[in-house]
């Protein structure tokens, strides 16, 4: 157990913390994931996916339960569609590197959970799309489209930030 926690505990905790943005709840989720591993290890089927993927799936379910409890869910029915805007300006001419990073960070925090989880898994934890698809329980195409939408949203937010900074 200690070895498995050492290998996967960090990823689970970081994912939970990114999603819930509350350290104590992220700790609780991490603990519950490994307790689930302790109690229901027979449910893990290596033929379906990796252990890390299975653990991420458990973490995700716990995170979503928590989000439902705290009403942090947003509609997934296209309300987050990104409006078509010009994305060809150079933000570096308007914002410093630090400002860009901070703007993207804020943008990630504001993303709907279904887009954020894909971003955290695939971009931050460098998970393969097919593993993310197993962990989240959606087709791989959905992972790609959600990742695209997440990045598009962040780009829009960044553009809005740039526009605000341009104003006197």
């Amino acid at each position: 157990m200690a070895a498995l926690y050492g290998r996967h505990g960090g990823m689970i905790y970081r994912f939970a913390l990114r999603m819930i943005q509350d350290e104590s709840i992220a700790e609780e989720v991490t603990q519950d994931v490994f307790l689930a591993l302790l109690r229901q290890s027979d449910r893990f089927d290596p033929a379906i996916g990796k252990l890390s993927t299975w653990l991420c799936g458990i973490a995700r379910r716990l995170v979503w339960k928590q989000l439902e409890r705290t009403q942090r869910l947003e509609s997934m029915d296209g309300a987050d569609d990104v409006p078509e805007q010009s994305m060809q300006d150079d933000p570096a001419s308007l914002l410093t590197r630090k400002e860009i990073i901070m703007a993207v960070q804020r943008g990630i925090e504001a993303l709907p959970p279904d887009l954020k989880e894909v971003l955290v898994f695939c971009e931050f934890e460098e998970m393969k799309y097919d593993d993310a698809a197993i962990a989240i329980g959606v087709p791989i195409g959905t992972i790609r489209s959600r990742l695209y939408r997440a990045k598009q949203k962040l780009a829009t937010l960044l553009r809005e930030e740039s526009v605000r900074s341009r104003k006197p």
Binding site: Y13, T30, L35, D89, E126
Partner: protein, 147 residues
């Protein structure tokens, strides 16, 4: 660079920062404690064993109570199976008592000799239950024995 490129670059940097963060050590400590609790819980006797044990104790208790009741009845029967009152040798010379009480005692058979009874030897320390009729003067008038 376009906004998309900047986002990709920012995500790369944020991802690197993200991966350096580790979980706080208290999670591992709590997990260790939980693992210990779970493994000790596994050693605990399952509930069904406790239920069976409780049933067994109940059955034995009921049986014991029934048995005691039978014994008690037997005891009563034994008390009822008494000999007739036999006058204490020499008590005929005593005045007829006005009040009488029955005193139940358990005594060595050989002590009956002191009351004038002829007890064949050897009797050893064998005990006998006896009921004495005692007058208001404190002197025994008669005795009967439990069989």
């Amino acid at each position: 660079m376009t906004y998309h490129d900047e986002v990709t670059q920012a995500l790369k940097e944020l991802g690197e920062q993200h991966r350096t963060a580790g979980p706080p050590p208290q999670i591992e400590a709590r997990l260790r404690a939980a693992t210990r609790r779970a493994s000790s819980a596994k050693r605990v006797v399952p509930r069904w064993v406790w239920a069976c044990a409780a049933c067994l104790v109940l059955t034995v208790s009921v049986w014991q109570m029934t048995r005691n009741r039978v014994d008690h009845r037997d005891g009563e029967a034994r008390v009822e199976q008494l000999t007739e009152f036999v006058p204490i040798p020499g008590s005929e010379a005593l005045p007829e008592p006005v009040d009488r009480v029955i005193v139940r005692v358990q005594m060595a058979k050989e002590d009956l000799r002191s009351y004038g009874f002829e007890i064949p030897a050897p009797v050893g320390k064998e005990l006998v239950r006896a009921e004495f009729v005692v007058g208001e003067d404190g002197l025994a008038r008669a005795v009967r024995f439990a069989l």
